[in-house]
């Protein structure tokens, strides 16, 4: 009887095993299909386009690396990339300092902690389009900022038609909209630092400032690297905010790289050239992502 049950047992297990083999593939299938059709294929297509002259309507013609050669000598492309980099160099440290500063204030023993956190976090949930038009309304010719300037007896400023002030407005809007997201990451990082360290430093007579530079900052290194890399990548992908706030103007002063590629591809119908530009952007973003990966790992050690 016992031999019978042992002999009878393996069969359903085998059957189960065959079924087990098929099930995971079916479970993965919908995601796999979407990733293939909407990420893998477009990536390959983009690479192919980049070696062709293509207007999207007529058949493409192979032109080798001519698109890349054109980018290399395209002064406007490099100017736009330079503007994007300048934007990143200003906005990244600004977000970093403000987010960390607010996070430090929020981990103190204060009342209404949740209320304050909510106020700073809320803008991150508003779309860039609304963020853009909100700040456009504030900085416009008849906006409240000019109203205040008028009230204190100063001349009003055409913030959005002056290149310098337009760039400044974009930076203010970007910091306002993204601070909360990184603040939350910093709060988590700060709370993970053991309190004993600060108490020991205090007993040793170290000032709060010393404790910040010798305990907080070093222990926050992984968080810092994560935030810096995420904000840098975000800065290089910036477009929707400018779309609503400045339209890329005045005179292209706030037209950054993604808008430039978008206009090359969709307005000028130069799909091949725009694809080659995309690949250059991809290389730049990849460098930052790889750096982020390497550095955050290094930060944790």
């Amino acid at each position: 009887m016992s031999t019978e049950s042992i002999a009878a047992h393996p069969q359903p297990v085998n059957k189960r095993k065959r079924k087990l083999q098929l099930a995971p593939y079916l479970f993965v299938l919908p995601n796999l299909l979407i990733f293939t059709v909407f990420i893998v294929i477009p990536t390959i297509l983009g690479a192919v386009y980049s070696f062709h002259e293509y207007d999207g309507l007529n058949p493409m013609t192979f032109i080798g690396i001519e698109n890349y050669a054109e980018i290399f000598t395209d002064v406007k492309f490099w100017q736009t990339l330079g503007k994007t980099a300048t934007y990143a160099i200003i906005v990244v440290p600004l977000i970093y300092i403000c987010a960390l500063g607010i996070a430090i204030l929020l981990v103190q023993q204060i009342v209404l902690k949740g209320f304050f956190r909510a106020i700073f976090y809320w803008p991150t949930m508003i779309s860039f389009i609304i963020v853009g038009l909100t700040w456009r309304w504030i900085f416009g010719e008849l906006g409240i900022i000019n109203g205040v300037l008028e009230a204190v007896g100063k001349d009003s400023v055409s913030f959005l038609s002056d290149p310098f002030f337009a760039k400044l407005t974009v930076i203010i809007a970007a910091v306002w909209s993204r601070l909360g997201f990184f603040m939350v990451i910093f709060v988590a990082g700060l709370l993970a630092i053991p309190k004993d360290y600060y108490e020991a430093a205090h007993l040793d007579g170290a000032s709060k400032l010393r404790a910040f530079f010798h305990i907080t900052l070093p222990l926050l290194k992984p968080t810092t690297l994560l935030v810096v890399m995420l904000t840098t990548i975000e800065a290089f992908k910036a477009y929707p905010l400018m779309f609503a706030l400045t339209g890329g103007g005045p005179n292209k002063a706030t037209t950054y790289i993604v808008q430039y590629i978008y206009e090359t591809g969709f307005a000028k119908q130069e799909l091949g050239l725009a694809s080659a530009m995309s690949i250059v952007l991809f290389v730049i973003i990849t460098i930052f992502t790889v750096l982020q990966f390497k550095l955050t790992k290094g930060g944790e050690n």
Binding site: K19, F27, V40, P123, M125, I129, E150, V184
Partner: protein
């Protein structure tokens, strides 16, 4: 280590100052949206509306066709989120609980798609959407963004902590793989699914680049696309624009108010982009 009174006051002053700065922009467009046109374009502007009017809200729906855009956005955000929860949890389940040929490769491949942002492939994506007949269809805003590497990865990590014995017990009871997924796995994932749902809804509601690439027919506009279109006009009708912005923020505001404790706790956010 207890802070002195001066230090405490300093912290509060700074916090209240910054909080006021951060609160002001939204309050300002909210107040402005209730001003009539004379007040709206009056300089210098008054802080509070002298005469509260709802004309811009009525205009937005009657002249601006805003109801249509709102419904489009709602359809996209809700269905895309439901689809995301379904297919991401299926994939997460497979990658966490089955040993199958190609499984590890698929996991790495899924995660590596994070490296390719939409900004980099927007031109070929436009061609792919056209070729599939999805251009100018809401399906183009629902299906492609529903497969998220972040969602798959989070669910996989979450399900790794579920003991195999639990699934094995159901198998012995004769449940097939789908039943196990539907009846055992899905209910277990509820907390993480809730978190993903919040973010997915917000991503889809706020999204601009996908609709910009996929939609040109004004009848298919989402709220963000409609707003961006109105602000590009030569004579911007600020009254309607402000009213529409206020309405557009309401669904996300509700989500925010209901879930804000979880959102700002950091645990959820740190995994999301």
């Amino acid at each position: 280590m207890t802070p002195t009174k001066a230090q405490k006051t300093f912290v509060y002053v700074l916090l209240i100052l910054f909080a006021a700065l951060w609160l002001f922009p939204v309050v300002w467009i909210f107040l402005s949206s209730f001003k009539n046109n004379t007040e709206l374009y009056q300089f210098p502007p008054s802080l509070l509306p002298q005469q509260i009017t709802f004309e811009h809200f009525i205009n937005a729906f009657e002249k601006g066709n805003f109801g249509r855009y709102f419904v489009n956005s709602a359809i996209v955000a809700v269905t895309s989120t439901l689809l995301l929860l379904l297919i991401n949890s299926m994939a997460g389940f497979a990658l966490a609980k089955y040993r199958f040929w190609g499984g590890t490769f698929l996991l790495l491949a899924f995660i590596s798609t994070l490296m390719i942002p939409l900004e980099v492939i927007m031109i070929p994506i436009f061609k792919v959407l056209s070729a599939l007949g999805l251009y100018n269809s809401l399906l183009a805003l629902i299906i492609p963004p529903a497969a998220t590497p972040t969602g798959v990865f989070l669910l996989r990590q979450y399900l790794l902590t579920v003991p195999d014995e639990l699934l094995e017990a159901s198998r012995i009871d004769g449940a097939n793989e789908w039943t196990i997924y539907w009846k055992v796995v899905l209910p277990l994932c509820r907390p993480i699914l809730a978190a993903l749902a919040i973010f997915s809804f917000m991503w889809r509601w706020d999204d601009f680049l996908w609709p910009l690439i996929a939609i040109s027919d004004p009848n298919k506009y989402t709220v963000q696309l409609a707003l961006s279109n109105f602000i590009g006009e030569f004579n911007v009708d600020w009254g309607s624009l402000l009213a529409m912005s206020v309405i557009t923020m309401i669904p996300v505001l509700i989500v925010f108010l209901v879930f804000q404790k979880h959102l700002v706790s950091g645990m959820v956010t740190s995994g999301m982009k």
